[in-house]
Symmetry: C2
Subunit: 320 residues, 2 copies
Amino acid sequence: MIDLCTLGTGGSIPMPARALASLYVRCDGHALLVDCGEGTQMQIMKLGWGFRCIEAVLLTHFHADHVSGLPGFLLAQAKANRDQPLDLYGPPGLAHVVSSLRVIAPQLPYEVRCHDLAMEPSPIRVCGLDITAFPLRHSIPCLGYDFRLPRLPRFDPDAARHLQIPVRYWGQLQRGESVEVDGRRVEACLVQGEARTGLHFLYATDTRPSGNIREFGQGADLMILEGMYGDPEKANLAHKNHHMLFREAAECARDAGAGRLLLTHYSTSMEDPEIFLEETRHIFPPTDCALDLSQATLQFDRAPVLNLRPLIPPVIPVES
Amino acid sequence: MIDLCTLGTGGSIPMPARALASLYVRCDGHALLVDCGEGTQMQIMKLGWGFRCIEAVLLTHFHADHVSGLPGFLLAQAKANRDQPLDLYGPPGLAHVVSSLRVIAPQLPYEVRCHDLAMEPSPIRVCGLDITAFPLRHSIPCLGYDFRLPRLPRFDPDAARHLQIPVRYWGQLQRGESVEVDGRRVEACLVQGEARTGLHFLYATDTRPSGNIREFGQGADLMILEGMYGDPEKANLAHKNHHMLFREAAECARDAGAGRLLLTHYSTSMEDPEIFLEETRHIFPPTDCALDLSQATLQFDRAPVLNLRPLIPPVIPVES
């Protein structure tokens, strides 16, 4: 199961009730962030999913609205008693940007490891997720991220019985591990049945429509794409600022054959992005507009569940 | 008249409903900020007093909770079409900190001028206010700021008549300007009566109690001081972390003979700082706890007016 939360849905500058870009991704007790705009630490507090489980931050690019919350987030991790390393990923130049921003967070009780990614498809593995970073089409180098949670093929008990493997070994084999049975090595693939589809979502903001989005997002359960402008009359502005219209995002999702589309990263010119939903759904019907703290849950063998306006429980203050 | 607003009242780390340190100071159409913690730009939007009128930011020190909102604030000024220079003041090292943080805000359509202040009393003049920066007692170099709005002496019409100055010159003389009357130069001091008291407030956070606070704040209409901990049992923690208890702030205000005391910069261990007010008022009765967006108004010949829970009008979104 994967839980997602759009912590902030503002593009470029925030609004009083719209924080800047950040996505919280939680999978089997581990977590990561994509981007960390100003206010991210407050949004994580509101959400209540915690700080210390966040093992990595994947930055799309170095415009301030995607990274200005990093010093505060690093210090919030320290206040949460983090002692394990934190991995940061981002476009080339990451280490320089992070060390510059850390002028106000120089001392941390844990290691910050910067991984500069190339501007070409790059596989990384974080929180049990197979992630591919891929280049987008923005005014500065910008990466999208494609996430896949693989699923093992179905276990075949008949094959296990046929190979005379005692039941006490079945658990390991089901988890894909090989076992030793009476001096005989048995590989998991010998007792695996039909292949099963894993989970797949893609995140891309700050870009014009791109072949990479359509290609990596092929058949994704969920795409989270920028919808900087809803109004089709802002096409020129979208071109000029290297952003997408709602309908362009919907075309990407449609062309990729995605299951659902969640829009985010809105211009302040749209107070209510949902007024543009109806016409966007003519292009790709299962489109929704994320709000700050909207949530999505992806589960094997089920359609994604969206909770756009979740009730967030009150936050218990921390001692300090 | 001076209007003040405590944009954020959180110390060290924010809470969901408590932004980090920043004070908005408005005087005769000009404005400045003291400190600029993460979330300041959102708080300014909520307040609705505007960005472009802010001509300067006075930083107390370089802990992240006081400066992490600076890149976002600088970009928000750009979005508000600022074209005039912005002046930044702060302890030694300011220019290095600002240039490091600007790694994510490198291009701005206006000039940012950094003024490093010495760690000794330093007079500056911003927005028509006579300001003295003075050193505090924190774990790193930290400045407090004392603000005075001078007031001209009362105009003496009898003296003006006695000197045979036509009434058409009186306005200039009242504003303290000298005039030429039939080839005769008349200085304003010749037609000034009794001296009049101006306005005076002081801002100091992130410090142990200090002689400078008591000295510069002597007779201030209002002191805004940190109250990191309300509980007197946290005295050791206050010592260790170089912060003040509520009662220590109250003692400073009492010893300075201040008119009122507004506490701010609260630890996250206090969900409701007001529960410690009653015992603090035994030391200095006119003490209040600021909340985010609390306001104070200082006017000549009147006691300060506090509005701790103002109704903030809804914000009109900006085109972008």
